[in-house]
Symmetry: C2
Subunit: 349 residues, 2 copies
């Protein structure tokens, strides 16, 4: 069943629960590390469509995953805006020219994705040609999450700079979020036109906001993006890490599915929003570092908690980490497919 | 009213909402920085009762705070267990001898607080003598949070080591948590005997667990500690950062009050658990970096959200950060006292 992922997202009958993993094309795979070494660095890999396509497909060659996600990074947009992204070992992404004041925000241009981000469209086209009807997921960061990186200059413990901006200079903050929303919208439109079969918004830092700020600075802008994409008819998934308290609000912004982090109880989430949206998640990524017995136990627990019927896409509650043994992924994928059959009516397939 | 904090914690009538701030004795105060320089380093400051007493009292000399909290660190217990704590600039606390295997856990001794941690009791006695009946709060880290630091060796982004231990070697994990629970219990008993009028458990990392793991690895052990302290009749506050989804569970473990992080809506929290426990919190610490106008707006919002009656202790949703202007704290404390009078029946006082 090639369309298991898309059918589950739309809650249509399926034979097995589909599975893919956030960061499935990544450092835990030796073949990924080989290509990355060849490319020189992470950004060069993102910007070389042939190589980005190749690493996108790598996990699909090993495992019976139900979807590919295009290999890229959420920070390609700020990079295209001129902030100069680099990836520093043991620090993570760093912008050489972070946003420091309102005049910089005013001067920021909204990138034409067909110009400065066309390498992503090219990688999507190449990957789609190889995927044999298996769905390909496009993605972008949420405006708030992008803004947080752009103002902090890098990941942060308390995000004091961006929060200070948000509280003290709301007009500047909203101007930045507005520009990012437009950028994300046209970027995702390009990805869809290039062949992405679904899109996902990663709101990695939304969970660090108070509830009113979350609505005002993150959720509203994600809603704006989703409403603009609606005419294209492509399903979408929204994922706010740490957003478990606000699921009822997240489920109302027009996405097809909602991603759950591992702190959230998927049974509670289904009761709360499962009638409105599909749910994606939510195995603790740390479980992947342990044994097959434990992976089975915890995956079983999630599948049992979701229960009968379509509408669940199995995933981790956050990206897979570099030190996961590849054979553990094999075991998880096969177990989810085998065990989940009891939750689906086989006669309808 | 000297006992405003303790009365609010027990939901007795008060004239104004009490306020204190997590990490109120800290680096944002120039007089703290002066003493710390004199002491040499952070740990020396903790371990010198006269200096620890002095910094405990510093914020009370500036502001009309309703409680003092003894100046110390949650990592004094693992330090007393022999893990050799040091504080590294730009990294934070680091253990020179982190826990790496089960045999190390088996060999860990439960410290006699009257021996290796008596400096804390001494600082409490000294501070109490100076406080003129203003309450003094004692504290400790939750067993899970202490274990996380002890196994990771320092703060971490994903806490992969401790989680791997928790999943793979549950017996070792529980042995460690059991030893830490006993250590925390006797440590808090000593603090109470020395004169602490209330105690607080800081569960900084509990919010990174899945719900079943949170119950199993963090909440159950905090409950055990609180039940052991019950005969002493001293009120208690439990604070799990990121625990907003589990308030109903947190409110059932026997604490007098529950601390709220800034992501949690205090109005929702009061509806959910306000009949069982007092609530402490929950201004976003980043607000303290802004202006008096904004501090007033956000503090007002929290006081309005809690509404009428006793049972609210104003605080931040996490510790105050080093770059807060001291005059902003002055403004907040005075504003909370002035504005909150309308929420309390002045005729009963």
């Amino acid at each position: 069943m090639k369309d298991r992922f898309l059918r589950a997202l739309k809650k249509k009958p399926i034979d097995k629960t589909p599975i893919w993993l956030m960061r499935q094309a990544g450092r835990y795979l030796p073949e990924y590390r080989a290509i990355r070494e060849k490319a020189g660095d992470f950004l060069a890999l993102c910007k070389t469509p042939e190589l980005a396509c190749e690493v996108t497909l790598q996990p699909l060659e090993r495992y019976a995953l139900d979807a590919a996600i295009i290999f890229s990074d959420i920070l390609t947009i700020p990079d295209a805006m001129g902030l100069e992204l680099s990836l520093v070992e043991n620090v993570g992404p760093v912008f050489n020219k972070p946003i420091k004041n309102i005049s910089q925000i005013k001067q920021l241009h909204i990138p034409d994705p067909y110009d400065t981000l066309s390498y992503v469209a090219r990688a999507i086209k190449l990957a789609n040609n190889e995927l044999n009807d298996l769905p390909l997921i496009g993605f972008a960061g949420s405006p708030w999450t992008l803004a947080a990186y752009m103002v902090e200059g890098r990941s942060s413990r308390d995000f004091a700079k961006i929060k200070k901006l948000a509280y003290s200079e709301p007009e500047a903050m909203h101007l930045l979020l507005e520009k990012l929303s437009k950028s994300v919208t046209s970027y995702l439109k390009m990805q869809i036109e290039a062949g992405a079969n679904a899109v996902m918004l990663f709101d990695t830092w939304g969970g660090l906001l108070s509830q009113p700020n979350y609505t005002n600075l993150s959720l509203n802008y994600m809603e704006k993006i989703l409403r603009s994409l609606e005419p294209l008819g492509v399903p979408s998934i929204v994922f706010t890490k740490g957003g478990g308290m606000w699921l009822d609000k997240i489920a109302r912004i027009g996405s097809t599915g909602v991603g759950l982090d591992w702190m959230t109880d998927i049974k509670v989430a289904r009761q709360l929003i499962g009638h409105k949206v599909a749910l994606q998640g939510n195995l603790d990524p740390a479980v992947m570092l342990t044994t097959k017995t434990l992976i089975e136990k915890e995956a079983k627990n999630i599948l049992d908690s979701y229960g009968m019927g379509s509408g669940h896409i199995f995933n981790l509650g956050h990206g897979i980490t570099p030190d996961v043994p590849p054979e553990n992924v094999q075991y998880l994928v096969d177990f989810v497919h085998a065990y989940s059959q009891q939750f689906h009516d086989q006669s309808t397939n």
